[in-house]
């Protein structure tokens, strides 16, 4: 049998009718009913759904600098298991990804691992310090071909600097992904400000701190005619502002995390720091508004904000704990639970918000493509009827900080094809894809 040929037999394409997909040499060679397998390896996919490989617009891989939290290798293993074929690695590493050298390093690590495409995100400002633009053009021109720029974790709060960044990235079709958090309104903030924070005596993180920055930024984007992406939208008010901006024709896209679609600040009553995240978990009303916004297109994409931390950063007092949750291996299931099983979205919509549009925002040309003949074979097979209980200790990510621990969720990724190569089979890691430059090194072993 040919090593690089697979016939996926009888998968429901985007949840619609069952068809076969023939994969050969990294591309979809044919799509149709009752295709001839020839010498291809047959993957029986009855009952499974075929979707384009997911593209995460917001991932923290922690390397370089915090290899005790995650590495490119472990993070991309988690990504492949979660159904991803591309991730955008955020810039808040150490050193910060604010030069061509660092983004090329992350890019190279991603290619050496071979589990997914690793698209580095470049920092907007030097050292994420919010004072001086990083060399955005150099990162754009580097081998990493950076198109998404973000100081994620820290807001580009200086309005002049934000304006300049938005203007400057137009030169290479880039986008500024803003972490919307007004710093003065959130000094010492520990959780969403509202009924629960009042009782718990934890510093409040008002919704207005997010909304005021988004309102400013959409107006700036309109003024300079640039492209803005809003990271991890978490409030109903933010949704209203983005809806308004889109109605005015402003070029803004927005993401929501799986955890903000499911969890609320009521969980903080436990003081368990696994629920500590930035932006914070909000109220049930916010959750409902976010689901509706994702369904109606106001929010464009899912971004996991996968943020692994070593256990000691979570096994402590709430105020001492790091902010962030893992998400790559639970995203599909949480979106199925919150958006598909609720009837708000179809699997075709799922493909749009997890693959097509995030690839477009990140300008990842060979990802997020239709499942048609001639297209790159980045494909996942999902068992929508599966149910599983989340155990952070059984995940590929090094982070044990899953807020879904112990929760039963629907949906399982059975297979992931990355560039026509199965990185995941039968729900388990298979072999990574070998890029031409690494294949030589491996065969040399």
């Amino acid at each position: 049998m040919a090593e690089n040929s697979y016939l996926i037999r009888g998968a429901a394409i985007l949840g619609a009718d069952a068809e076969d997909l023939l994969i050969r040499d990294g591309v979809i060679a044919a799509r149709g009913k009752d295709l001839d397998a020839g010498d291809a390896t047959v993957i029986e996919a009855a009952g499974l759904i075929a979707l384009p490989g997911m593209v995460d617009i917001h991932t923290h891989l922690r390397e370089p600098g915090r290899e005790d939290a995650e590495t490119v290798e472990t993070g991309t293993r988690a990504a492949a298991l979660g159904g991803y074929t591309a991730v955008h690695a955020m810039a808040n590493s150490n050193p910060v990804a604010d030069t061509a050298g660092v983004v090329e390093q992350v890019h190279s690590l991603g290619r050496a691992s071979g589990w997914v495409d690793v698209r580095p995100v470049g920092a907007v400002t030097v050292g994420l310090a919010g004072e001086q633009l990083a060399e955005l053009g150099a990162m754009a021109d580097s081998r990493a071909r950076v198109r998404v720029f973000s100081d994620d974790g820290i807001c580009v709060h200086d309005p002049v600097l934000m304006r300049r960044a938005l203007e400057y990235v137009k030169a290479f079709d880039g986008v500024v992904a803003q972490h919307a958090q007004e710093p003065r309104l959130t000094a010492g903030a520990q959780m969403n400000e509202g009924a629960v924070s009042a009782v718990l005596g934890l510093g409040g993180w008002p919704a207005v701190a997010e909304e005021s920055i988004i309102a400013r930024d959409v107006l700036l984007a309109q003024h300079v005619g640039s492209r803005l992406h809003v990271c991890h939208v978490s409030t109903a008010g933010s949704v209203e502002i983005i809806r308004w901006a889109k109605s005015r024709g402003i070029n803004v896209t927005a993401e929501v995390t799986p955890h903000h679609l499911l969890l609320t600040d009521e969980l903080v009553r436990s003081y368990d720091p696994v629920y500590k995240v930035n932006p914070p978990l909000r109220t049930a009303e916010d959750v409902q508004a976010l689901r509706e916004a994702l369904a109606d297109g106001t929010i464009d994409v899912i971004g996991t904000d996968h943020a692994p931390h070593p256990s000691e950063h979570k096994e402590c007092e709430w105020a001492q704990a790091a902010m962030g949750m893992t998400g790559l291996e639970t995203a599909l299931s949480v979106v199925q639970e919150t958006m598909i099983e609720t009837g708000l979205m179809s699997w075709a919509d799922f493909a749009r918000v997890t693959s097509t549009v995030p690839a477009r925002i990140g300008r990842v040309e060979d990802q997020g493509r239709p499942l048609e003949a001639g297209e790159p074979a980045n494909i996942i097979l999902v068992d929508p009827a599966a149910r599983w209980t989340v155990d952070p200790y059984k995940m590929a990510t090094m982070g044990r900080n899953s807020p879904f621990k112990g929760k039963e969720l629907p949906g399982a990724v059975i297979a992931t094809f990355f560039k026509g190569h199965p990185t995941v089979l039968e729900g388990k890691l298979n072999e990574p894809y070998r890029h031409p430059e690494t294949a030589a090194a491996v065969s040399g072993n």
Binding site: A198, L200, S270, Y271, D272, W318, A319
Partner: protein, 334 residues
């Protein structure tokens, strides 16, 4: 009861049981030999991550009068200041054999973490956590109020609650663990609570609390009040735009001499003035008010020992009657 973390999850039955037990302890404290053998052989650790000499010596006196062995662990200058985690500290205390940990911490929820994790199996008493709760302070305040309320009604305080008592809690509610613990406990015991504060020092979400809210202290006095509980204004609030100046704060929300006279003029002859201490004389309370016969400040300190004895006794004496679960969180693995 396994732990005492909060007054919010304390039932009326449990609260009254603690207060009644504290009355028995108070009788011990009247004796020449102020000591009971109840907790002989048991070890109580006072684990203080924040300086509070008043609270620490109150707990120390309480534990010693019950014959417990007391270990004082002040985090400053200790392994904690060298970066030891709460988890390691807790496991160390567990290995030493602590039966109860009295924890004071600057971080809200730290006592809940000790109680909810498997780091240590001891009874946990919250001696003030961040801006969250200070349940033994609220219990000693209620103890003090209950004695006053019972005396006014010519009854014995044992078994009674605070039904019908009008309590005003005045000052920095936003940052006050004392206020939070008092609101929940006073509501449980049947009192009518009014929070009086500048709008900047009330939390967003206070409208959900079981109490009234006022920005006007004089109107609250005129409406009639049986207990005035003045909260301490922390120094660091003064330069953070919570109010324009200490003088303006004092004029609008301080219990000054004019308001002390107003109690007489309004015919509120039995209204008491409370303060958890330490006081900022001349800011939230005038010296005349603090030293007046209406002031219960020293009664509160005295009652604090009795209430803490009661809490330690009930948690450690083997009285295992199940109370309301002290925490909603299940045990978490490491």
């Amino acid at each position: 009861m396994k732990h005492l973390l909060s007054t919010q999850d304390l039932s009326a039955e449990d609260a009254i049981r603690i207060l009644d037990t504290a009355e028995e302890m108070a009788a011990v404290n009247e004796r020449e030999v102020k000591k009971l053998p109840a907790l002989r052989g048991r070890t109580v650790v006072n684990l203080f991550f924040e300086d509070s000499t008043r609270t620490r010596i109150s707990f120390e006196a309480a534990a010693k009068r019950l014959s417990a062995d007391v270990i004082n662990f002040a985090a400053k200058g200790s392994s904690v200041s060298k970066g030891e985690s709460l988890k390691d500290t807790a496991q160390t205390l567990a290995a030493i054999g602590a039966d109860a940990v009295v924890i004071r911490h600057w971080a809200s929820g730290a006592p809940h973490r000790l109680a909810a994790t498997d780091w240590i199996d001891a009874a946990v008493i919250n001696a003030g956590d961040g801006t969250h709760e200070h349940p033994t302070q609220a219990l000693l305040d209620s103890f003090t109020m209950r004695r006053h309320w019972a005396r006014l009604h010519g009854t014995d305080s044992q078994g009674t609650d605070l039904s019908g008592m009008r309590v005003a809690v005045v000052g920095d509610v936003l940052h006050s663990r004392v206020a939070r613990s008092n609101v929940w406990l006073l509501q449980t015991l049947g009192a009518d609570v009014t929070l009086v504060a500048p709008p900047t020092l009330l939390p967003i979400g206070v409208e959900h609390w079981p109490c009234k809210v006022s920005y006007n202290l004089d109107e609250t006095l005129e409406a009639g009040v049986d207990s005035m509980m003045m909260l301490r204004v922390q120094g660091e609030r003064m330069n953070a735009s919570f109010f324009p100046s200490t003088r303006e704060y004092s004029r609008r929300w301080g219990f000054d001499d004019t308001r002390l006279r107003a109690l007489d003029e309004l015919g509120l002859k039995d209204t008491i003035i409370m303060h958890p201490g330490p006081m900022n004389r001349g800011l939230e309370i005038s010296s005349a008010a603090a030293d007046s016969p209406r002031s219960t400040v020293l009664d509160q300190v005295r009652n604090g020992v009795s209430v803490r004895m009661a809490a330690l006794y009930l948690l450690l004496s083997g009285d295992t009657r199940e109370a309301v679960p002290a925490t909603t969180q299940s045990k978490e693995s490491n």
